[in-house]
């Protein structure tokens, strides 16, 4: 099948998509966007977190065809051409990246949180990121990174 949608602000078309393919597979295998990851493909790890029509979802749980005509934003769409997004910078600075496989999912989920709650508490951060698994960091520096990003993104 053919799927046409907007991805990271640009109209994109995926051809010859197997009907049972998830949005994650479409992004990775057809649209050259491997940033979203396939750690579990069952919605239990959040490594495939993307925005679908502005909502944080697991791309592995969205059928490719369901994205037809909709807007998708992936981790690849967060940085500007020259600069990392403050969330991405903060993850680097806080040491929140080890193997990094979970990082794209966390970056998108943290971005979503900070869009809705610019100064989240520790508890709010934990609840918002409860759908993202990390096996390397123990989460401590991820929480630091979100606080750091919040600080950096606060209006002067």
């Amino acid at each position: 099948m053919r799927i046409a949608c907007t991805v990271n602000g640009r109209p994109r078309v995926a051809e010859d998509v197997w009907e049972g393919a998830s949005l994650l597979a479409v992004l990775r295998e057809h649209l050259g966007l491997p940033g979203s990851k396939n750690a579990c493909e069952q919605g239990e790890c959040g490594s495939c977190s993307v925005y679908l029509d502005g909502r944080l979802v697991c791309a592995c749980l969205v059928l490719g065809g369901q994205a037809q005509g909709r807007e998708v934003v992936t981790v690849e769409g967060l940085a500007s051409k020259d600069e990392l997004h403050p969330v991405q910078e903060a993850f680097l600075e806080a040491g929140a990246v080890q193997c990094g496989f979970c990082t794209p999912g966390f970056v998108v989920a943290a971005h979503d949180l900070l869009t809705r709650k610019p100064q989240p508490t520790d508890v709010e951060i934990r609840e918002a990121l409860a759908g993202n698994i990390c096996r390397c960091t123990g989460y401590a520096k991820i929480i630091d990174a979100v606080h750091l990003a919040a600080e950096r993104m606060a209006p002067r």
Binding site: K37, A79, C99, V107
Partner: protein, 757 residues
């Protein structure tokens, strides 16, 4: 701008990782590639009667279907014992064992075709009880019998007696490494029958050497390049898809990509050895250890993997970091038809830590002594002798570490106003959290302590070395150091550490660490907490050799003898710039390759288990605070505190990351992670029911990091990665015991273990 040793510069691979354009092995793609799929055994033990691939071969898009008959060279491989078939022939010995391969032009077609491969099995009764496997009457799963290794340790007086004796039997469940990156890679066939494999692994050269044997190729024809690795923790020490992808690529003449799904990953790699440990401790009335007796049985599953080394660890460190004059330890690791087990962070020292720390708490109770006081009274120190007879050299600050974790102020008692009242209630502070199972009813807080240790580096004479090539030249008018090793970056920050060492030793700010591949000598594995020591040592040695030549150049060109390298320049002893490195070097390219081999270790005596078997010891202590809903048996780990001696923190931020991440894996085994196996079949091969700690389960980790300086290692550093996973879980279990008053002899602790149903 690369930071120096002792600083925490940003990871060079960081920007790619946060942007999403860092290429992991599962992201690899190339025009015209095929997708590989694996046919796996649905039985834990069966004879293969026939394999019919006709229907699969005829399916659209299928280019090749391979079985054991298509293995070009060695049929069997293995890290220690070559007992594992590349593709099963004759017998399958575990649920999920690989039997056949398919290559097709689309992953869905490869999966469909794999399902049509008809394997006729004669199902056999699986051997699933390790105690039965030990008996003479048990069926032999391998020609040499079911005992993969029996380790004996006989230290001191074997008939020692003591006034106070405590004993117990402890059971450790099967943990999985569960790295998020799936087993994956891309094999590209090359000229003259060669193959180029891009993959995630922990040791390029051992993979290469095994592949050369399997594919019947000269090692030079098997080129491995490390792609991005999504974590490892021991799961990538054994071959998974490597031989399979290469076989398919060589047969089809096309690149072949393989990437396991999560359920497949659970059978695609080894797990932590589950085990039963029976201990008896004897002590004087004033709390001095007199003897320890331990019987350790680890279930190695269908194939040996690194079981022979794991059981050695479990036995050598059976006592824990304590002084005790007499020890009798017998450890067996056996074959069964359960899933194969092998390396996982901690490598045998996790299992025995649960046992020895439970014993120390039991002993403290019997002596009416404070548990930390008892440990401190018997704590190992510099000059102590292990039960293997080896004397501990360098710092062994066991008492100090315990003192430090005990000194952290305890966290404030949780909120929750008891039965019935809803005011001021913060569910997130409760066991069960927003699942709303308690508003404070039944919640009791407990505190527990544990201390553990293990070796850093390989043991028992295994050739432990690494190789580094360092090249200094001028690029765009600035001096640049290139570092090339085969060391696997698996997330721990090894690429950054290598760069920091080069920057420090050569005084240059522009350091590039090249992709790891087999074009340089072996770096050994990223395991045993060894890489910063051994590969760091190799990088340092190669840099020193480069530096010697630069200094020789300075002497001849500048006529100066007292010269240092600093800030991209040759400087005087006082720091004045004599000449920039760019000027000094000009067009010259200075390159040196060095192997770094630390002090030799020796094999355990087969009768007594005595030997100087280890290179270095690393110690950590933990304190855990838990809140337990004692009516429902739900546990909330409120805080973990740890103290660890890292010798010298090459990258302090990365060191913290190891302490925090390792503690999370310890918490996982303590309270939620278990591969549940029934009759040889894994019942929970997915993240739905193999539960990893989420951010709502993992508490803050307070850390006290000591840098006491090892006497012989590069920079005085100690390996860091494993101790955090060793004593964290036992501390949590100790805290649960304190909260519930229950003995708890098994991990992971389940709610039904804490209540009387």
């Amino acid at each position: 701008m690369t930071g120096r040793v002792g600083e925490s510069p940003r990871r060079a691979d960081g920007p790619g990782k946060v942007r999403g354009d860092f290429t992991y092995s599962s992201d690899l793609t190339i025009e015209g590639m095929l997708w590989g799929a694996t046919v796996r055994s649905p039985h834990p033990y069966a004879r293969i009667v026939a394999i019919d691939t006709a229907e699969a071969r005829a399916m659209p898009g299928v280019v090749a279907v391979l079985t054991h008959e298509d293995v070009p060279g060695q049929q069997l491989y293995g890290l220690e014992i070559q007992d594992q078939p590349v593709l099963a022939f004759d017998l399958v010995r575990y649920w999920g064992e690989a039997v056949a391969l398919v290559a097709a032009d689309h992953p869905e077609r490869a999966r469909r075709a794999a399902q049509t491969v008809r394997v006729t099995y004669e199902v056999l009764e699986p051997l699933t009880d390790p105690e039965v496997a030990l008996t003479e009457a048990a069926p032999r799963l391998h020609p040499a019998g079911n005992v993969t290794r029996h380790v004996r340790i006989r230290h001191g007086d074997q008939s020692a007696r003591a006034d106070v004796v405590v004993s117990g039997e402890y059971e450790i469940g099967m943990q999985d490494q569960a790295p998020l990156g799936p087993e994956s890679g891309l094999a590209i066939p090359g000229a003259a029958g060669s193959v180029d494999l891009h993959l995630a692994t922990q040791w390029l050269h051992v993979d290469r050497d095994q592949l050369a044997g399997i594919l019947a190729l000269e090692p030079e024809k098997v080129k491995l390049t490390l792609a991005g690795v999504g974590g490892a923790f021991g799961a990538r020490e054994d071959l998974s898809m490597q031989a399979h992808a290469c076989m398919l690529a060589l047969r089809t003449g096309r690149p072949v990509k393989m990437s396991y799904s999560r359920p497949e990953s659970f059978v695609g790699h080894v797990h932590r050895h589950p085990g039963k440990l029976r201990y008896e401790h004897g002590a004087t009335r004033d709390g001095r250890l007199v003897y320890v007796k331990a019987r350790v049985v680890l279930d190695g599953g269908a194939y040996a993997s690194s079981s022979t080394a794991v059981i050695a660890n479990a036995c050598c460190f059976a006592l824990g970091p304590y002084e005790c004059p007499n020890a009798t330890v017998d450890g067996w690791v056996v074959y069964t038809n359960n899933p194969p087990c092998g390396a996982m962070r901690g490598f045998g020292s996790v299992q025995n830590c649960y046992a020895h720390e439970a014993q120390m708490d039991k002993l403290a109770a019997a002596l009416e002594m404070d548990p930390v006081e008892l440990r401190m009274r018997n704590a190992m120190k510099t000059g102590s002798r292990l039960i293997t007879g080896q004397v501990v050299e360098g710092p062994a600050p066991v008492a100090e570490l315990l003192d430090r974790v005990k000194s952290f102020p305890l966290p404030v008692q949780g909120r929750g106003s008891g039965r019935g009242a809803n005011t001021e209630l913060d569910l997130t502070q409760m066991p069960g959290g927003v699942s709303n199972t308690t508003h404070g009813e039944g919640v009791v807080r407990g505190v527990g302590y544990a201390v553990g240790f293990k070796n850093v580096g390989y043991s028992e004479g295994f050739d432990d070395y690494s190789t580094a090539r360092v090249r200094l030249s001028v690029v765009d008018g600035r001096p640049r150091a290139e570092v090339h090793t085969a060391a696997a970056e698996v997330g721990q920050g090894l690429v950054t550490v290598q760069a920091q060492i080069a920057a420090t030793e050569l005084g240059v700010s522009d350091v590039v660490v090249l992709d790891a591949d087999t074009q340089v000598g072996s770096a050994g594995s990223s395991s045993a907490s060894r890489q910063t020591y051994i590969t760091g040592g190799a990088v340092k040695a190669a840099c020193e050799a480069v530096r010697e030549r630069v200094l020789a150049l300075a002497r001849s060109e500048l006529g100066r003898k007292e010269v240092r390298l600093e800030g991209d320049a040759a400087v005087s002893a006082e720091g004045t710039v004599i000449a920039t490195l760019a000027t000094l070097l000009g067009d010259a390219v200075i390159e040196e390759t060095r192997e770094f081999r630390p002090r030799r270790t020796h094999r355990l005596d087969s009768e007594t288990g005595q030997a100087n078997a280890h290179l270095q010891y690393a110690f950590a202590a933990h304190r855990a605070v838990v809140d337990v809903d004692t009516e429902l048996g739900l546990v909330k780990v409120v805080e973990l505190a740890t103290a660890q001696d890292v010798g010298k923190a090459i990258n302090p931020q990365a060191v913290e990351g190891q302490l925090e991440g390792g503690a999370a894996q310890g918490l996982g085994l303590a309270v939620m992670e278990e591969i549940q196996v029934k009759d040889g079949v894994i019942r929970n091969a997915s993240f739905t029911d193999y539960l990893l700690p989420t951010i709502l389960d993992m508490p803050p980790v307070r850390m006290d990091i000591l840098e006491l300086g090892d006497p012989i290692s590069p920079y005085g550093l100690k390996g860091v990665g494993e101790p955090p996973t060793i004593s964290s879980g036992p501390a949590i279990v100790a805290a649960i015991r304190a909260a519930t008053g229950r003995p708890i002899n098994r991990v992971p602790v389940r709610p039904q273990d804490l209540v009387d149903t």
